[in-house]
């Protein structure tokens, strides 16, 4: 319609989460109509981001500095590492503002189906960090799925002998959750993980 360049732009936009071919076409048209205020700044921002943002060699977070802002922040509690599957999990915890320690991004979870084995995850780096003597606790914040918990058990095994306390997030009733609407699995896990008040 608008030449191969526009077709390529639409095809690339359509690969973004939340966009299909039609919405990608609309987004492309919107960008082209707002060249000065949107297309050119966006192009520049994408270029700068592609050049500057890299995975942190320590924790696996994405940032423009090495080590990342979290790893280099002096106020952080360096005795606790929270292990997450993906960067978006790290960002979710940071948004909540409830954790003041360091992170470690595994880069996924063990999955027989997708062929993800221990060597594909950042487990060796975690073991090295946990063994350096400064770390006292490793919190496993993997997803409450079969793959996530299988990964958590595997990481726990690998951390044996590192001299750190290993804990994991609790399972149970979410804030605002009504028991009537919860699935049996969540209810069962919540009942099992009950604690004295």
């Amino acid at each position: 319609m608008g030449g191969p360049e526009v077709d390529r732009l639409v095809a690339l936009l359509a690969r973004l989460p939340g966009l299909g071919p039609r919405s990608a076409r609309r987004a492309a048209l919107h960008l082209l109509k707002n060249r000065g205020s949107l297309l050119e700044p966006l192009t520049a921002a994408l270029e700068r981001t592609a050049e500057a943002v890299k995975p942190c060699p320590v924790c696996g977070n994405l940032d423009t500095v090495e080590p990342c802002g979290i790893c280099s922040e002096a106020r952080r509690d360096r005795s606790t590492i929270c292990v997450v599957e993906e960067v978006d999990d790290l960002w979710a915890l940071e948004r909540a503002g409830i954790f003041g320690g360091l992170y470690h991004v595994l880069g996924g979870a063990l999955s027989a189906l997708d062929g993800v084995g221990p060597e594909d995850l950042g487990i060796a780096g975690l073991v090295a960090r946990a063994s350096d003597g400064a770390v006292e606790e490793v919190i496993l914040a993997t997803n409450a799925t079969v793959d996530g918990q299988t990964t958590a058990h595997y990481v726990t095994d690998r951390l044996e002998g590192c001299g750190v306390r290993v804990s994991r997030l609790a399972f149970g009733v979410p804030m605002g959750g009504e028991l009537d609407y919860l699935d049996e699995g969540t209810l069962g896990a919540a009942l099992k993980a009950r604690r004295a008040v």
Binding site: L113, A144, V146, G188
Partner: protein
């Protein structure tokens, strides 16, 4: 085409943004794949955990189409033992073995019932869930045409003192007949021939036995070797 059946979720692979291609072991329709719309979304993701028991409805225009699944959770099985590393490893192993070895759309009702028994055991119904799993693998070999013959000694025909299995034929061998070849024979754990479970070593011997024949008959070829989930499960029990 449309049918309803009970199914055990073996795997769910994300497809596109919100859907998932689900592989299920059903009682009357065997291992059957289908597209679950919204399967990668918040509402269905929990339902599509491996090992969950669901009431599934499959619908497709033609029987050979991938078709679509709608489903309702019957039992969230893995939630009962997410904290137990061994049981979770066993479940992941069973799902991976079923997914790799079973042909699609061929019903094996007994194998499905065996899987249900395994899920019951894993949920806490049996202390010997690991033995249940080994028996399930023996059953898997059997229904796929590679059954072990553990009833009598391949050499003497007697059914007492059976402690070996021939790695070539899958037939039991008695202690006396197998003695000269003991290094080359596989150990036959007693619980597979009606005796009591002799502990963790018996379970590992059972897994070695079934593992040998699974690798030989079902995991050979292009993607050689057992699923990594099985290797991890065996390694975990062996520690």
């Amino acid at each position: 085409m449309e049918w309803s059946d009970r199914g055990i979720v073996l795997s769910a692979r994300r497809h596109g943004e919100s859907a998932a291609v689900v592989n299920m072991l059903t009682r009357e329709h065997g291992r059957h794949a289908g597209l679950a719309r919204g399967g990668a979304g918040r509402r269905l993701k929990g339902v599509l955990q491996a090992g969950n028991l669901v009431a599934a409805r499959w619908r497709g225009r033609l029987s050979e189409h991938l078709g679509g699944y709608t489903m309702e959770l019957e039992r969230a099985v893995p939630a009962a033992f997410l904290h137990d590393a061994n049981r979770l490893a066993c479940l992941a192993c069973a799902c991976a073995v079923a997914e790799r070895s079973l042909p699609e759309r061929h019903p094996y009702p007994l194998l499905f019932d065996g899987f249900l028994a395994l899920l019951d055991g894993l949920e806490g119904g049996s202390d010997h869930w690991d033995a249940v799993y080994v028996r399930w693998e023996v059953g898997l070999l059997d229904v796929l045409g590679f059954g072990l013959d553990l009833g009598a000694c391949a050499v003497t025909g007697r059914n007492d003192d059976l402690i070996y299995v021939s790695p070539r034929t899958g037939r039991a061998v008695s202690a006396s007949a197998g003695e000269p070849y003991r290094d080359r024979l596989l150990a036959l754990p007693g619980f597979l021939i009606g005796k009591d479970i002799g502990g963790a070593s018996d379970i590992l011997a059972g897994l070695r036995l079934t593992g040998h024949f699974l690798e030989r008959h079902l995991f050979a070829g292009e993607r050689a070797g057992p699923p990594p989930a099985r290797e991890r499960f065996v390694a975990r029990l062996g520690r």
